[in-house]
Structure formats: C-alpha cells, structure tokens
C-alpha cells in the first residue's frame, strides 16, 4: 500500500512536470504578439520592444523555457500583462468561487445522473427509459450558452425565481469574512443566515445549469452499467433466492455499477471545473478562474493563460489520484490485481 502510494505520487509529479512543459510550448503557438497587445494600439515599435525585453520575450526559446521551469517550481506563474498582478495570487483569490460553483454543479450532476440512470435501468426498454433517453439526447445536444440565456430570461426576467446573474451575491449584500472562500460556508460560519441564503440562491442558478449540462454522460454510463449488473449471473443468483427487488438493485445493481461511474465522475469533475464553467462564469458574471481565463484570452495575456491551464492540469492530476483511491476501495479486484 505504502509502496504503491509512493509510486503513485511519483507518477503524479512526472505528470505535473509534463503538463508544465507541454503548456509552455503549446502557448507559444497562440496567435498574436503578447508584447504588441500589452503595449496597446498606438504604441511605437520602440515601446513594444521595451515591453518585450521586460517580459523576457526577446530571449531565445530555451532561455525562456529554463526561466519558466525555475519559476514554475517556485510556484511563480509570472505577472499578468493585463493587470500587472502576480498570476498565482490572482488565480488563488478567484479559485474558491469556481470551486464552490463546480462542487455544487458536480453534486447536482451526480445526483441527477445516478438517479435518472438507475430509473432508466430499472425500467429498461420501457416508456420511462425512452423518455429519459430522449432527455439525455436533448441535454447533450443543446448549447449551454443558449440554454443559459433562455433560463436567465425565464427564471429572472419572467418569473423572478432567481436574482439577476451579477456575481456571487445579489445587490446590497456584503461578502462574508473570508475563511474558506466559499460564500455560503463563510456566511454560515459568521452566523449570517440571510447572507448565506442569498449566496446559496445566487449559487444555485448557475450550478443547476452547469450540473444539468454535465449530467448526460453520467446518465448513460449509470444506465448501461446498472443494466449489465442487473442482468449478471450474481443478480440471477439473488433472484433465485427470492431477495426483494430493492436489495437486488442496491447490492447487486448499484454497488457493481458504481465502478465505471467513478471513472466518469472524474471526467465530469474536470469538465465542470474547467470546460463548462468558462461559459457559465462569463454569462453569470461569476468571478472565478473561468472568467479570468476568458478575459486573459481576449487580451492575449500569455502568462495569465498559462497559469490557468497549469492550474487546470494539476487539478486533473490530483483528481485522478483521488479517484483511483476511491476505485480501489469500491472494487476489491483492483487491489488484488496489484498484488496487495
């Protein structure tokens, strides 16, 4: 266990360094000249040249790469061209907003995905299953920005269920004292129930959309793996003893269906934190790292973009380690195959 744990951390370190190297060279392929953009439309060539020197962009690629890697190991992701602030600090102050949104969205996606998937599996090839399959096709085919705009129009403008999407709190509320960075948790810690409620309600709207958008792949996996488990030899054994359907669904169905779901949840978590949330954060004026990445991309802010991609890459690697541990707990055969 200890030895495989060490091996795993070793692989993780190699992964993180690999991500850093890859990102350096990929971001060099981005179109546009960062120094030119930073200097502005009316800058003279001399001013651009001066900025280029300031950011070290005039050096040979290998020198730039060496500096980049040294800074990387010192957790220094450089200075944003757009804001002039250290990228690491900027990302870290924005991270809690994204994680708060992402975690709730993931929770909604998992609850929705597992619930609908099991429902479809139990009623397989019947009407309920067909309806759920249809919903899945719609949810995965519809563009999230369109759905989000429609939802904002209906829920905010027409029905007034949610407040305007202008950030993490409605107008007139002050942010709670930062402890965890999660507004809902911080407001609860401060004993301010009203702010906590307002923050949760503001959070719920984008989280629901992001969760809904991420759920189809979970529904599909849960449905197929639950059907496979329910039609397995061991489920047949359970039926031969006359076990109640609930017990068969839980012990034989869900428990064995969980394994592929864990793998899939990793992918969905990455999507919710990195992919889907850039659009959602933009539409909801959510001050997270997705919005930061979007703004950086608009202004060709090389260092900020690099920082964002590195953060996402590292998050993916950490996520995979956690999932692997979860997988070993859920499936005793994995541990045995590794000779534990």
């Amino acid at each position: 266990m200890l030895r495989s744990g060490l091996a795993r951390s070793g692989i993780a370190v190699v992964g993180v360094v690999g991500v850093a190297v890859l990102i350096f060279f990929i971001t060099r392929l981005l179109p546009g000249d960062p120094a030119r953009v930073a200097a502005g439309q009316y800058a003279t060539d001399a001013q651009v040249e001066q900025l280029r020197r300031q950011y070290g962009l005039d050096q040979p690629v290998l020198v730039q790469f060496g500096r980049y890697m040294v800074d990387f190991f010192r957790l220094d992701l450089g200075t944003s061209i757009r804001t002039g602030q250290p990228v690491t600090d900027e990302l870290l102050t924005r991270l809690p907003a994204t994680v708060e949104l992402g975690l709730l969205a993931l929770l909604i996606a998992v609850v929705l995905g597992v619930g609908l998937g099991v429902l479809a599996a139990v009623h397989r090839h019947r009407v309920v299953d067909k309806i759920i399959q249809l919903l899945v096709v719609f949810a995965s085919a519809a563009a999230v920005f369109w759905i989000a705009l429609l939802a904002i129009y209906l829920f905010v403008n027409e029905w007034g269920v949610f407040t305007s999407p202008i950030g993490r709190l409605p107008r007139g509320y002050a942010p709670p004292d930062p402890v965890t960075g999660f507004y809902v948790v911080d407001a609860l810690l401060a004993g301010d129930l009203e702010t906590a409620g307002a923050a949760l309600r503001t959070l719920l709207f984008p989280a629901m959309l992001l969760g809904l958008h991420a759920s189809p792949s979970i529904v599909k996996i849960v449905r197929s793996s639950t059907i496979r488990a329910l039609e397995s030899d061991y489920a047949r054994t359970s039926r031969s003893f006359g076990y109640p359907p609930g017990s068969i669904l839980f012990h034989d169905g869900l428990r064995n269906a969980l394994l592929p779901v864990i793998t899939n949840i990793g992918l969905v978590a990455g999507f919710v934190l990195a992919g889907g949330n850039v659009l959602i954060e933009q539409l909801y004026a959510w001050p997270g790292i997705g919005q930061y990445a979007y703004d950086s991309l608009q202004e060709n802010d090389l260092f900020a973009l690099r920082g964002y991609v590195i953060l996402i890459g590292v998050t993916y690697i950490l996520l995979n380690i956690v999932l692997e541990l979860a997988y070993r707990r859920a499936d005793p055969r994995v541990a045995v195959a590794e000779g534990r």
């Binding site: 030899d233 047949r236 054994t237 039926r239 031969s240 003893f241 017990s247 012990h251 499936d331 005793p332």
Partner: protein
C-alpha cells in the same frame, strides 16, 4: 409421492421461437434426476423457468408444475414461489464480486431469518457452520475472502452451502461441475450426493456430459432441439437407448476419454 412434477412445459421467445416444447418430468424425494442434451437443446432454459429466472424476452408459454403437491406453475403462469434453490455453471460469476463471502452469507441468512421470524443473533456462527457442512476446512479464512480470491470449486461449495441454507425440498443444479478440474468435479458431485442422502431432498441435475449424468443420476431426461426424446433409468438409456439421438449422444461421449 412425487416431489416435483412438470407437465406440458413450453418456453418461447418474444419473437415467436419455441425453445422448449411439451416437456414433462418428475422427481421423487431423495432422487437425482438428470437432464442431458447438447448446447442449445433447451435444458438450461427448462431449469431456469422453474424458478422464474428466464432472461428478458424468454417466457413460459404453457405448462403446469408442482412441488410437494403444491402447484407453482399453472398454465404457464407462476402462482407461487416453489421451495427450491439453484446452483449454477461458473460459480465465481454467480457470486457478487464486490461482497466478501461472509457478507453474502449474512445477507442470505438475514433474508431467511426475516422470512422465518428467527432472530439476527448467531448469524456469523451459522455462516461458519454452513461452510463446514459443505466440507470447507477453514471456514473463517474463506469468509474473509472475495469470490475472485477463491477457486471455482470453493465458490461452488459456497453456492451449495447457500442453496442448502434455504432448506429447499428441491435443488436445481445447472452444469454445476462444468469448467472445474476433474478431481474438484468429483468432490462437488460427491457433495451433492451426500446432501441428497442427508437431507432427503430431490435434485434436478442439468448437464451436457453423459459421463457425469451416469455416475450421479438414477433417471435421466434426454433433450434434443427443445424436445424430450427419452425419460428413463440411466442404465436403460445407456444399455438400450430407444431413441436414435440418444445413441448418437452416447457414441460421442464414449469416444472421449472417460472421466469416470
């Protein structure tokens, strides 16, 4: 008095194919009756249909069956659960891969306990005793294992222990020794025979192997393409087969190196 009696049993798929046609057989208490036939002859479907375990898209079209005089299948419809249990081919796949043997036994004992109104106490000791009763010498070690950590023969013993724990009057064994080593095969057959002797239950024994049938059963039903070709004493079937197919089946068995 006959223990199990099956009459006019037909099994059909949803798209109209007939898998078993007009099957009939009876089992006496303490008797092992075999069903033999090649793959696809409908013998496993027959066995599964008695416990309502047919796969999706396959169903009993007509037929009656009763156990200890109580009808459980009337005109193709299940009218009650027969007091029968089953062991299967590929025992390792027949046990839940994510649960330790102990958890699976406790699950069964809890379920049986609820049905009979006995308490939850002493289930662990009962699980141990059950494994011992099927010839497992280190029950504690086996209880702590997952099915994939045990051999096929060991898992089949566990399956027999579970099947016996339910105190059935009929045990259905579907190819219980297929895929096991010859020595393990002999042990499992001996276990089934001794279980029959000590408990007086009847066994319906499904196999494609004439050799195994001959050393286990008193009477045998020969199936071919979903039809019952012959139902008689094993000795008669062996020495004076009345059916051309039975003769063919015997000839093919005798050509193989004997496992007896």
């Amino acid at each position: 008095m006959t223990l199990l009696s099956v009459e006019g049993l037909s099994i059909r798929t949803a798209d109209g194919h007939t898998l078993v046609r007009d099957f009939a057989l009876d089992v006496n208490p303490g008797e092992i009756v075999g069903i033999v036939g090649e793959s696809g002859s409908g013998k496993t479907m027959t066995a599964l249909s008695l416990l309502g375990l047919l796969p999706a898209g396959v169903s009993v079209a007509c037929g009656d069956a009763s156990l200890s005089g109580r009808p459980f299948l009337r005109d193709g419809r299940v009218c009650e659960r027969p007091n029968a249990t089953m062991i299967f081919q590929n025992p390792t796949a027949a046990l839940n891969p994510t649960m330790k043997i102990e958890a699976q036994l406790i699950r069964l004992l809890t379920f049986l306990g609820k049905r009979r109104g006995t308490g939850r106490r002493g289930r662990r000791a009962r699980a141990e005793a059950l494994l011992e009763s099927v010839g497992i010498h280190e029950p504690r070690a086996v209880l702590r294992r997952y099915p994939h950590q045990l051999s096929g023969g060991m898992n089949q013993r566990v399956m027999v222990a579970m099947a016996v724990a339910a105190e059935p009057s009929l045990l259905i064994a579907d190819e219980p020794t297929t895929g096991l080593d010859v020595t393990v095969q002999a042990q499992i057959l001996e276990l089934i025979r001794s279980t029959v002797a000590s408990r007086g239950i009847g066994v319906l024994f499904v196999s494609h192997d004439m050799g195994v049938i001959a050393q286990t059963c008193r009477r045998v039903a020969v199936m071919y393409h979903g039809e019952l070709r012959e139902f008689a004493d094993v000795d008669d079937v062996f020495h004076a087969p009345r059916d051309a197919y039975t003769e063919e089946l015997l000839a093919s068995t005798l050509e193989q190196p004997s496992e007896r």
